[in-house]
């Protein structure tokens, strides 16, 4: 994973609550054995009309939402399945960060492991962001701060380890492999007890 220190981009807003992983990437695209190339199917059934043309009612199809790297989504974003294809699709589509007042556990964990910043903000800040689509934000991972265009700031909570991994681009599999001695001791202890 590449280190991720800060993201500066405009926001696109998808205000709907409970946007589930089937909406983010429908199951019929899960037959891939690769991580790349899912961006064109992100939000597929919402984004395209039956004839394959863009659905004008879908918020991310609006001209002002194009190229926005920060997605502000309704409460409980990413609920549903454990498919890592959901953050893969969003990243491939060009989303670098998702902000919501609640983000489902497995989605959040998957997102952070792929360098997709998943950030929970307070209800009032969420309300503000939902009401102001298209503003440019600067999300600073090291300080845990979101800067607004008018100079205002929100802080956000992030697990210290998750932050460290993003900032340093930590290879978590490598980190686990370093604990091999402790893992072996655990295995021996359990086998002796059995």
């Amino acid at each position: 994973m590449k280190p991720l220190k800060r993201i500066r981009s405009r926001t696109a807003v998808l205000p709907h609550a409970n946007i589930d992983t089937d909406r983010i990437i429908p199951a019929r695209f899960l037959t891939t054995t690769e991580r790349v190339g899912l961006g064109r199917h992100a939000f597929e059934d919402w984004r395209y009309l039956a004839d394959g043309s863009d659905n004008p009612a879908f918020e991310l199809n609006r001209p002002e939402a194009r190229g926005c790297g920060i997605l502000v989504a309704g409460h409980n974003f990413g609920c549903g399945s454990s498919r890592e294809h959901a953050p893969w699709a969003l990243l491939d589509y060009g989303i670098q960060a998702v902000l919501s007042s609640e983000i489902a556990d497995i989605f959040r964990s998957n997102a952070l492991k792929n360098g997709l910043l998943a950030v929970v903000v307070s209800e009032s800040e969420h309300r503000y962001l939902l009401d102001h689509p298209g503003i440019e934000l600067c999300i600073d991972v090291s300080t845990g701060c979101i800067e607004l265009p008018d100079g205002g700031r929100f802080g956000f909570e992030m697990d210290a380890f998750a932050r460290h991994c993003l900032l340093e681009g930590v290879d978590q599999m490598g980190y686990l492999l370093q604990h091999d001695d402790a893992i072996q001791r655990h295995e021996q202890r359990v086998e002796r007890a059995a």
Binding site: A17, R23, N76, S81
Partner: protein, 473 residues
């Protein structure tokens, strides 16, 4: 004396290889890793790219279920895969399992089936274990008093390489279910009722422990239905303390301990319950006597209510849109809505008692004209037992399709799907927009409600379908 601990605390403590700290999550040991074709290929590729072996093939078990056809192979042995990609994905798993030495329940295995159905059937799922799979409904295995949860593909790779995961300890949430469920009301009704009570995100960050007399009275299959749906409230996992029902169900299964090992295991498993006075971060009480046949009326599992109750008014745009999508009217019950497809299957409700309950209703009756009904057993073992009892004949005589085990219309990635606008009464676990086919409308229900709705051609309470025919007889 040690402070009283919850069942979850005990499971967590026993698996911490490195305890968590402010700066780092715990390194948590995983006893059993279940693998299927959809969420594993990229993880195997990662191992290969790093030149790593799979650490514990003996703690890894694979099956084919998600993208597999549920129609049988033709005379030449060709299976009707929906796309070449689906077939390639299955072949990839076969090749990966050969290369890395993983036991795969392939097409020729008499134990193949949905990953969360076969783990328990084989006795691979046992109390006290940590169990993971690249699938959110891994929570199912919590019915045995195992800490079981879904993970993403990156984490699948972590477990393959190290048998461990980096985890922060979730919070605990006790769901006390008092009283007794009324006759004709089962685990699916109860769990939908609970999700409607705590909300679709109500369990986020928590491990649920279902407890109380109504839970103790449930069969293992019913407990699996409960824990399976924990994730639909956003919970990390669901748990039920193991007891004599659990031990009786497991004894003699292929991977269960035997002889003196069995006695030792049961002695240990008996300690796996929450101590009196243990602290939960959250608690809620549910009165089982108030639960009625329950279904969903919206587009997430929290939008659920009693079948005969009026659909509540939408309180926000999203709910408004959900009711529009489902074509239901607030203030009116959805009972009586015309049904196009009925699906009995999925890791929520595809076990033998589920099929028996559905067959009981279909016996001597017909699926209504214009309704398509699919019955998909959860595993080859379920299929064998059902066929030995003649249940398949009950289904086919009624006009339903009897299929080969797999996830099928639960996720609709194998070609089993509904058409846009069709109303599906489904015993599966997710009613998200498009989950069962683009534009399809899903009503989640128990096997009884699903079967009764198939007969009536309208969303119906099984108790009234049974009563009507009694009166007519």
């Amino acid at each position: 004396m040690n402070a009283p601990r919850t069942l979850f605390d005990k499971l967590w403590d026993a698996h911490q290889v490195v305890p968590e700290s402010d700066t780092a999550p715990a390194v948590l040991y995983i006893d059993l890793h279940l693998v299927h074709e959809v969420t594993s290929p990229q993880a195997f590729s990662e191992l290969r790219a790093r030149g790593l072996k799979l650490r514990r093939p003996d703690r890894t078990l694979a099956t084919l279920d998600h993208s597999t056809p549920t129609l049988p192979a033709d005379a030449d042995g060709h299976r009707p895969y929906t796309t070449p990609e689906a077939e390639a994905q299955v072949e990839k798993l076969q090749a990966n399992c050969r290369e890395f030495g993983v036991k795969l329940h392939d097409w020729d295995s008499d134990a193949r089936g949905i990953v969360h159905v076969i783990g328990p059937e084989l006795g691979a799922t046992q109390p006290g274990m940590t169990i993971v799979c690249g699938d959110s409904h891994t929570s199912t295995h919590g019915a045995f008093g195992a800490l079981a949860f879904g993970i993403g593909t990156t984490e699948v790779g972590h477990v393959m390489a190290t048998q461990c995961l980096l985890q922060r300890k979730p919070k605990s949430f006790a769901i006390h279910v008092d009283g007794e469920l009324p006759k004709g009301v089962g685990a699916k009704d109860l769990v939908l009722h609970i999700i409607a009570t705590i909300g679709v995100g109500g369990g986020t960050g928590h491990v649920l422990e279902f407890r109380g007399p109504a839970i103790e009275a449930l069969s293992m299959e019913a407990r699996m239905t409960m824990c399976n749906m924990s994730i639909e409230a956003g919970a990390r996992a669901g748990l039920i303390a193991p007891d004599d029902t659990t031990f009786a169900w497991l004894e003699g299964r292929p991977s269960a301990p035997r002889g003196p090992d069995w006695d030792r295991a049961v002695a240990h498993w008996t300690t796996l319950r929450s101590d009196a006075g243990a602290h939960y971060d959250r608690e809620v009480r549910i009165d089982a006597t108030l639960v009625r046949p329950t279904v969903t009326y919206g587009t997430h599992p929290g939008m659920a209510g009693a079948l005969d109750a009026p659909v509540p008014e939408a309180t926000n745009d999203q709910e408004h849109r959900a009711l529009e999508y489902m074509r239901v009217t607030a203030g009116k019950s959805i009972a009586g809505m015309p049904v196009d497809v009925v699906f009995i299957g999925s890791c929520t409700n595809s076990r033998l008692p589920d099929l028996r309950a559905a067959a009981e209703i279909l016996r001597g009756r017909q699926v209504a004209e214009g309704v398509r009904m699919l019955v998909v057993p959860g595993s080859e073992a379920v299929r064998r037992e059902a066929e030995a009892e003649g249940l398949h004949e009950v289904f086919t005589a009624a006009g339903a399709e009897w299929r080969v085990p797999g996830c099928s219309m639960c996720i609709a990635m194998n070609g089993d799907l509904a058409q846009p606008g069709q109303l599906v009464v489904s015993t599966s676990n997710r009613n998200f927009e498009g989950r069962q086919g683009k534009g399809a409308r899903t009503v989640l229900a128990s096997p009884e409600t699903a079967a009764a709705s198939a007969v009536a051609g309208r969303l119906s309470d099984a108790r009234s379908v049974l009563k009507t025919s009694e009166a007519a007889a």
